[in-house]
């Protein structure tokens, strides 16, 4: 009995202590620390070594590009490390004037030489930066990266003086300011990187907590794998006086149910993603906290056009017309929007709407292709990776069965095999998607050129590439977009990919977080976020 009493007493004490405790969010509100669900563990925090969205969220708090993210709108180009910029009439030469008060988090001045050093490091073949293609806009950048040009002096980036940076581009890029907001264009501190090793050393201790120096609103203070990444306010940031947060804690929660539970239990301010099957419940129970923001991502079925049957446009169109996109988005991909073309909303870029649900037409096209009522159609499979794509694939499977009378198997692979199979064209159909890096159609269209590492369909078109080339050299911003629209129409007329939904960011946001309006690129500048009790 004594033991029983002891146990009851211990539990009661624990409960009483816990009941009186304030939630972590309440404490964080007092301390002005934002608690963010960040979807997974970052691979690294050196901007030159990563390719992912998860990393970009953290890196954007530690570094700032020439142009900054605006808290209210993706299309506003706010001064960042650069105060002003100008370009020549054909957008091939750009000059950025850095802010003289710009400082690294160790108090050193941010200079144009740091930027040149960063691009040299990123482009150097020995660094082997995985996302180096983002810098190929610069003249001779690709040649230098491939070892065809050995002298970095020939690459089109120059420090005119300490605070003036000039770019010579290989073709007109009217949207360059938007591109410089991507982390691949951020500067790294030359003096710090070199104090831990050579410029081209891939892994040195410079990017660890305590060593890492950046020019962003925050400094890395602690990183524990699968637990947290903490950043604290950078007192040397040029706009530190207006930064309201004292820090941000990123939690790499991969399980979105765990993450949602943590939010509801007062352990997080903002989640990374709401599981689709909880969307309805949250809409009903937490209408003020659920956020369904449009996002620059597109989901599609990738076709291997080297497979018999799938090599015919009519077959691909039949598969496309057989998909009831609205039903898919209403029932499974909740929050997503039914796609009527490939690229999602990109401002002034308006490609023609061509996708639709028309079972009769789908049947007819399949018959015309030689498979009347699905007879003789090869038994193909739809490749999916790990993650929440099974329900979508089953819905597509059912729609194709019902509307075309063809049976498509579902082949689920782990993520490594899933990616490899696509790269080797060892698949029939694959469920895939693409998220844009900046707000310009090139981020969605360039990948469908011949030999591009992200194409993986076996499809290419000279006419398509001629259009892209023509647009690239067009100096009229509006005309340029019209040519891209035509190129996208061509892509949709052939449909090597069958788009079905535009992505949305569906997540939960605490009412105490202010300065977080919907943004297409979802790059909320941490320096503008506030916490109110």
């Amino acid at each position: 009995m004594t033991i029983l009493r002891c146990i009851i007493l211990t539990f009661t004490t624990i409960l009483l202590v816990n009941c009186q405790r304030e939630t972590q969010v309440e404490k964080a509100n007092r301390d002005k620390i934002l608690l963010v669900g960040n979807g997974g563990e970052p691979k690294a925090l050196d901007p030159h070594l990563v390719t992912g969205v998860i990393e970009s969220k953290i890196i954007s708090s530690l570094f700032e590009g020439l142009v900054g993210d605006d808290a209210e709108s993706d299309s506003v180009m706010r001064p960042g490390a650069a105060l002003t910029w100008e370009h020549n009439p054909d957008f091939t030469e750009w000059i950025f004037h850095l802010r003289p008060e710009g400082k690294w988090s160790d108090g050193e001045t941010v200079t144009a030489h740091d930027f040149v050093f960063s691009y040299n490091r990123m482009l150097h073949p020995d660094t082997a930066a995985p996302y180096v293609e983002m810098l190929y806009f610069i003249k001779n950048a690709e040649e230098f990266n491939r070892g065809k040009v050995l002298d970095f002096e020939q690459v089109g980036v120059k420090a005119i003086d300490d605070f003036t940076l000039k770019f010579f581009l290989k073709e007109p890029v009217p949207y360059l300011p938007g591109v410089t907001r991507h982390y691949t264009w951020f500067p790294v501190p030359k003096h710090v990187v070199l104090s831990y090793g050579k410029m081209t050393d891939r892994f040195t201790r410079w990017s660890e907590p305590g060593n890492m120096v950046g020019n962003g609103g925050f400094v890395l203070s602690s990183w524990r794998l699968h637990d947290h990444v903490k950043v604290v306010k950078n007192p040397f940031y040029w706009d530190a006086a207006n930064v309201q947060l004292n820090g941000v804690t990123y939690l790499p929660i991969e399980n979105f149910y765990t993450e949602t539970r943590a939010y509801l239990a007062g352990q997080l301010h903002v989640t990374y993603q709401l599981p689709p099957d909880l969307v309805d419940k949250m809409r009903a129970e937490y209408p003020k906290e659920i956020r369904e923001d449009p996002y620059v991502g597109s989901r599609f079925v990738r076709c291997n056009v080297t497979r018999p049957g799938l090599d015919q446009v009519k077959v691909r169109m039949a598969l496309s017309y057989a998909i009831d996109r609205k039903q898919l988005c209403d029932t499974i991909l909740k929050g997503y929007e039914a796609a009527d073309t490939y690229s999602p909303d990109l401002g002034d870029y308006k490609p023609e709407s061509v996708l639709g649900f028309d079972p009769a037409k789908a049947k007819q096209l399949l018959a015309e292709a030689g498979y009347p009522d699905g007879k003789g159609f090869p038994r193909y499979s739809l490749l999916i990776g790990s993650g929440g794509t099974r329900a979508t694939s089953e819905a597509l499977q059912a729609m194709w069965k019902d509307n075309l009378n063809i049976l498509i198997d579902i082949k689920a692979l782990d993520s490594g095999s899933y990616i490899t199979a696509q790269q080797k064209l060892d698949f029939d159909l694959a469920l895939a998607g693409w998220v844009g890096d900046y707000l310009d159609p090139t981020t969605f269209l360039l990948m469908w050129t011949k030999g591009n590492g992200n194409n993986n369909t076996g499809w290419s078109s000279e006419a398509f590439e001629t259009m892209l080339d023509e647009a690239a050299h067009n100096q009229d911003a509006a005309q340029r977009l019209r040519i891209f629209e035509k190129a996208e129409k061509l892509l949709m007329d052939e449909q090597p990919i069958i788009p079905f939904a535009w992505q949305a960011k569906t997540y939960l946001l605490s009412p105490s977080v202010k300065g977080w309006p919907p943004l297409l690129l979802d790059n909320h500048p941490w320096t503008a976020v506030r916490l109110e009790k």
């Binding site: 624990i14 409960l15 816990n18 009941c19 939630t23 972590q24 563990e41 691979k43 690294a44 050196d46 070594l49 990563v50 390719t51 992912g52 073949p125 020995d126 082997a128 930066a129 995985p130 996302y131 180096v132 293609e133 990266n145 491939r146 070892g147 891939r202 892994f203 524990r224 794998l225 699968h226 637990d227 939690l251 929660i253 991969e254 399980n255 149910y257 765990t258 539970r261 943590a262 509801l264 239990a265 007062g266 352990q267 790990s386 782990d414 993520s415 490594g416 095999s417 990616i419 490899t420 790269q423 591009n452 590492g453 992200n454 993986n456």
Partner: protein, 309 residues
Amino acid sequence: MIRFITGRLLQGILVLWVLFTLTFFLVKALPYGPFQSEKAMPDHVKAKIIAYYGLDQPVSVQYKRTLKNVLSGDLGLSTRLEGRPVDEVLHQAFPVSLQIGTLAMVLALLIGIPAGVISAARKNSSIDFMLMTGAMIGLCLPSFIIGPVLAETLGRKLLWFPVMGWAAGEYQFLILPVVTLSLGTAAYLARLTRAGMLDTLSQDFVRTARAKGVSGVVILIKHCMRGGLVPAAAFIGPAYAGIISGSVVIETVFQIPGIGRHFIKAIEAADSPMITGIVLLYGSFIVLGNLASDLLNLWLNPRMRNAAS
């Protein structure tokens, strides 16, 4: 005894070498390689990275190099976590798994053994029925059900405990994962203990003791415990090794920074150095756990002691 232990340790080293070799070649046989990402990188960049890790060399050369490095205590650099030394990762994650696992094991022993003993002592009574039903439920319910149910009820609804997180081992954060992790083992221990105790209780010497008028409690604790715990003791070693090697389910549901998730992620990313490092760590613990179990059994069971010597 020393010969026995030395023999078993040498056997263990052989086991670890076989384990290392098998793992190394199995990873090489995966249908995909490291450095896969949704956004493809240019081929020349990928080739550079592969060369950086020495993965462009013939497999036999890689094997010899890795074996040599492992023998000198260097587990290499993780390919998934961009150049992070594997031993650094294990150094960070292992104490977490060790803490959670040890607490869970202690809790499992505290629940499982008494439950088994009581059940055996009150065979076929309502208390036996209740305890064994509980054990059966504990065995049947997987932790991916128990974990979220506990987190949802005690965590989210009642706000008694945090639903996830580690917070450098603060006790509130430990309770739900430790309880979840211990239940299955406790259930198994209870059933093993009950069976072992029943077996011992049916022996002739127990009947003699009863006839002599020895009290039930004394018979149970003094005469039967040692023999009755033999099956459970054989299970404890490997179970402990398994439990501290990390549980992916617990780590994912409760967001615990232990070893289990590193293992799964490393396999998904064909991160050979990380996989090998964790397999060797797991392997060492299972070898040591088995040895500890055997030693415990020797102490408990005189017949085995004679056989060993």
